[in-house]
Amino acid sequence: MAFNVNLEMKGTEAHLTLSGELDAASAGVLKGTVEQAAGNNPAKLVMHMQDLSFMASAGLRVLIFAKQKMGEKVGITLIGCQAPVRSTLEMSGFHHSVYLQDAE
């Protein structure tokens, strides 16, 4: 399924809703949206992951980019990761750098 991401600002929170498959071909789209979100100087970045069915290491690199772009004061929360995506994040140690939250 093709990758899609929506950005919505809710006050000072930047909310990204992801769907489809995040790989090296689509990572640039996410990176662009993260840059857009960063331009709004958010206090917090929230990524809604329920509809993301696949994430390659290219996706992890965008998370690294987001962390660096937003700065240490901006927390990044990933909500509702599907089990295999969560597994990749935990195996790669990303659960130390981003908050993993169950679906609401």
């Binding site: 090296a24 071909a25 696949f54 390659a56 290491s57 690199r61 195996m91």
Partner: protein
């Protein structure tokens, strides 16, 4: 399944994953195992496209084959980019796993995930082609016949 042959560009990745999903379904792999196989193949295919073909300035195809026996499913990726053995990157990536995010090596993480999750992984360079082979045991399969 008929082998899949595609131009070695980023557009091939989603089609390669779809092929692997179908093969994993035929093999009866569990959901996580099927995902792990998709991920491993995708990571190596990505390296073939970016480092094999794009960076060397040449183009070429990627051929994907599925080979099923009662014990295991084997997926082979074949390309004609310059010879590259991905196994050398694994150790470097594994050592840096505890490092702060900014110090992570870029290309090795995907290959590290491959090493961890596959029941078998083989590489050879033969007659001008890189051949990367991913092996997953089937549920109920007793051993790993090559």
């Amino acid at each position: 399944m008929e082998p899949l042959v595609l131009p070695g560009t980023l557009d091939a990745l989603s089609l390669i994953r779809q092929f692997v999903r179908e093969a994993a379904g035929q093999a009866g792999l569990a959901q996580q195992a099927a995902y792990d196989l998709q991920l491993a193949v995708d990571e190596i295919a990505t390296n073939i496209v970016i480092h094999g073909y794009e960076e060397s300035g040449i183009g070429g195809d990627i051929r994907v084959e599925a080979d099923l026996n009662p014990e295991r499913l084997a997926i082979t990726l074949e390309d004609s980019a310059p010879a590259f053995d991905p196994r050398g990157l694994v150790t470097a990536a594994a050592r840096l796993l505890d490092a702060p995010l900014s110090e992570r090596p870029v290309g090795g993480l995907g290959i590290f995930l491959t090493e961890q999750k596959m029941d078998g992984f083989e590489y050879e360079y033969r007659q001008g082609h890189n051949r990367n082979r991913f092996i997953m045991r089937r549920p109920g399969g007793k051993g790993l016949a090559p």
